[in-house]
């Protein structure tokens, strides 16, 4: 269970948001909405622990996330604006490396299956440098087929994807949530993800 209490974010001397709080239980989906620059990405980074909140705190199963960081991080998958891919490594190598870094031993077969699931198996042996923006995004998202974590925090996961991939990803998110996982998303697109409990958090100035 992820609980955020009274979060406030200060960037430079601008207060982006304050008093943001929510509770997310197993099987829950949280949409974070707001216009550009309203602090959606900052909020997600804060929930991951990459950014220290100005006020308030984030709790995972009743403990502050910094207190038991190892436990929290082994349950967390975060994908920000940046894909975390290395230009000189192939799509497959990138995917396997990132999975291992997250603590999942991904065999070549498993990684290939993940790439196939999101429809870019034919790019598996190409270096990430030659892939298009959308293809890179899909390689990064393929990690979600390997992840064994319960909390997914995804920043604009549908951006740069084609219609078919949006569908595939939405289905995967639905599966994850149905299995008792949790997801937090920001998106500007109108995508339906099936979830038992859907919440919406709107950030406004």
């Amino acid at each position: 269970m992820l609980v955020a209490q009274g979060l406030a974010c200060l960037r430079g001397d601008r207060l982006l948001f304050k008093n943001v709080g929510f509770e997310l239980n197993a099987g829950g989906l949280l949409y974070v909405l707001g216009e550009n620059g309203s602090g959606k990405s900052s909020l997600l980074r804060m929930l991951c622990g990459l950014l220290t909140p100005e006020e308030g705190a984030v709790f995972w199963n009743g403990k502050k996330i910094k207190e038991d960081a190892e436990q929290y991080l082994s349950n967390l998958t975060y994908l920000g604006h940046l894909n975390g891919l290395k230009d000189d490594l192939t799509a497959l190598e990138n995917l396997q490396t990132n999975a291992r870094l997250a603590g999942v031993e991904a065999s070549e077969q498993a990684a290939m299956a993940a790439l196939t699931a999101i429809g870019i198996a034919r790019c598996a042996y190409l270096p990430a440098r030659v892939l298009s923006q959308g293809q890179k995004r899909r390689v990064a998202l393929a990690g979600l087929w390997l992840a064994n974590t319960s909390l997914w925090i995804l920043d604009e996961p549908f951006a740069a994807l084609d219609v078919a991939s949006v569908e595939v990803l939405a289905t995967r998110l639905g599966e994850h949530i149905a299995e008792g996982g949790m997801a937090i998303l920001t998106t500007h697109q109108d995508v339906t993800v099936n979830a038992k409990h859907t919440q919406t958090l709107r950030l406004s100035k």
Binding site: G49, S74, G84, K86, G103
Partner: protein
């Protein structure tokens, strides 16, 4: 061996292998800088062998430093650093793998090339041996201390120059003991005390630098 540690090490080495020109730049820099001195100073072997320890060590310092700004910059730009920060493994452990990769790619080749450069300076074979040993003991400290500077200046404008200003003063002890070890052996004295001190600096850096670098990275990523 820890899986994530090995993953980071192999990823960095694989990248370096696929971008061999970057390594070549560092090495050519070392070769050219250290070859300029004999050309400029003249062929008096007495003068050359006197200045050799200092010049070679300074060239090694500078060669190690020009590649420092790349240590975390690419990871920062493409998001790999965020993922390292969010790995359940301790960040200092992953950082130590990156530093080891940096040393293997930028430090070790300099150590291996040093004997050839030493010949240009008319160094006796015994002094060349000590030069190699001193570089072998000292260059890890350069990578380790440099990583702290690279992490602190991450994302700052003009970080290449900033890292030099930050790190070069910290390199002074390594430079002093490294070059003194070589000149001691040239004068028939035992270089052992200097080499021990170099090893001590490196060992201390192995323990402390990854922790300091990890802390600096957390601040830079915010």
């Amino acid at each position: 061996m820890n899986g994530a540690w090995l993953t980071v090490l192999t990823r960095d080495l694989l990248q370096a292998y696929r971008r061999r020109s970057d390594i070549a730049t560092t090495l050519f820099f070392f070769v050219i800088v250290s070859s300029l001195f004999p050309l400029g100073v003249g062929s008096d072997s007495a003068i050359l062998s006197t200045i050799a320890p200092g010049v070679l060590w300074v060239a090694a310092l500078l060669a190690g430093m020009i590649s420092l700004s790349r240590l975390f910059a690419a990871d920062f730009a493409d998001g790999a650093l965020e993922q390292m920060l969010l790995s359940p493994q301790p960040l200092s452990l992953l950082v130590s793998a990156k530093i080891l990769a940096h040393w293997l790619v930028c430090g070790l080749p300099v150590v291996l090339l040093a004997p050839m450069i030493g010949l240009q300076y008319a160094l006796p074979s015994e002094a060349i041996g000590i030069l190699v040993v001193s570089l072998l003991l000292g260059t890890p400290a350069l990578s380790l201390i440099g990583a702290i500077g690279a992490a602190l200046t991450l994302g700052a404008r003009g970080s290449g120059l900033l890292v030099a200003l930050l790190v070069l003063p910290l390199y002074i002890p390594v430079l002093i003991f490294g070059s003194l070890a070589v000149s001691a052996s040239q004068h028939g004295m035992s270089p052992q005390a200097h080499l021990s001190l170099l090893a001590a600096i490196s060992l201390l850096a192995v323990v402390l630098a990854p922790l300091a670098t990890a802390a600096a990275l957390r601040i830079s990523v915010e």
